[in-house]
């Protein structure tokens, strides 16, 4: 189990979709530890956890496979190599900062990461292309909600957790 989760953590370059594919490959197709139905049920459940969803997913798979020891092995296997590599890459980056070429590269890379993060923000919303007039209205309503949250944090400077709790409460009160 430890080696399977270490492989998942180490080989999942590119974020969520790569991790999902690797996890399904290791746990369902290769080892047969879970059925597709069990895998999908835990995947859906993990979307409700706070923080990084994939870690929640790994916790539940570990629990399903070997109880508490399974949780410890799965989380350690999934996280430790990735955290180690990230620290090594950070050490290298900090060591070369100040180098003229690195500074030139970072001048474009930093705004690029801002743009990439904005694309991820859009994917969280995943607006649908409207087909009927009422769909246009719904899309506009969603856009206004997104804009209001931006204004609340950027202009009004409300604390972010407060905005998130208000959004959850408002959503729960909707008919």
């Amino acid at each position: 189990m430890a080696w399977a989760f270490t492989r998942i953590g180490l080989l999942s370059f590119g974020g969520g979709s790569a991790s999902q594919l690797l996890m399904r490959k290791e746990l369902v197709w290769k080892h047969g530890w879970l059925t597709d139905i069990e895998y999908n049920r835990i995947w859906q459940l993990s979307k409700l956890t706070v923080g990084i969803q994939q870690i929640g997913q790994v916790i539940l798979y570990g629990q399903k496979l070997a109880g508490r020891r399974g949780i410890a092995v799965a989380v350690a296997g999934f996280m430790l190599p990735s955290v180690f590599l990230t620290i090594v890459m950070s050490i290298v980056l900090v060591a070369v900062i100040g180098n003229r070429y690195i500074e030139d590269a970072l001048r474009l890379v930093i705004p690029l990461t801002g743009g990439m993060t904005m694309a991820i923000a859009l994917q969280m919303w995943s607006p649908e292309v409207p087909r009927l007039p009422r769909h246009v209205l719904r899309l506009v309503g969603q856009g206004v909600a997104v804009l209001i949250c931006s204004v609340l944090v950027g202009v009004v400077r409300l604390p972010v957790p407060l905005i998130m709790v208000a959004a959850l409460t408002l959503g729960a009160l909707l008919p």
Binding site: G15, V50, I59, T86, S90, P111, M118, M124
Partner: protein, 171 residues
């Protein structure tokens, strides 16, 4: 100057009050800005780049940011702070059957996704505007948004190509 203990609390807070790898970024940005961390947008931009290049889950930028702010201990703190909050899923799994079928649950999560888009959108806008002073830097930010949203190109290629363009343009 933020000490390791305070950094740990801020990282855990951002992770525990958010959904998804980058969901905590607006909270963390706001908390660090309130503590007047110098050159914050640049630090976060660098950490995001390392996080996108690393294997593993989204959100490892916190590990890199921890290293930038507090050395190896900061990196370890970042990893620990990411790993702890998702344990809530064990509680969620126990309660899920009671609330999963409720329309209120679906509505609450839907409105939260709009809020997260607005919050993360604003934070990423701050990173773009804070690091862009000429037309090429703006083009890199806008290009990063368009290519990521439209083509799903692997981040390693995008960051590598952009770094080479930067070296060629500014040398």
């Amino acid at each position: 100057m933020i000490g390791p203990a305070e950094l740990f609390v801020l990282f855990v807070k951002a992770s525990a009050l958010s959904f998804g790898g980058l969901g905590g970024l607006p909270i963390l940005h706001q908390d660090l800005a309130a503590r007047s961390v110098p050159d914050l947008d640049r630090l976060i931009g660098q950490a995001l780049a390392v996080g996108r290049l690393s294997p593993g889950p989204n959100g490892l930028y916190v590990v890199s940011l921890g290293y930038e702010m507090s050395g190896i201990l900061g990196g370890i703190i970042g990893g620990l702070a990411l790993a702890l909050p998702p344990f809530v899923v064990l509680l969620v799994a126990a309660l899920y059957a009671r609330v999963a079928h409720l329309k209120r649950t679906a509505n609450a999560l839907m409105v939260l996704s709009f809020a997260l888009t607005g919050l993360l959108g604003f934070t990423s806008w701050q990173i773009m505007t804070g690091s862009s002073s000429d037309v090429f830097e703006w083009a890199a930010g806008i290009g990063g948004f368009v290519v990521s949203a439209r083509f799903r190109l692997h981040p390693v290629w995008m960051i590598g190509a952009t770094a080479l363009i930067g070296i060629a343009l500014y040398r």
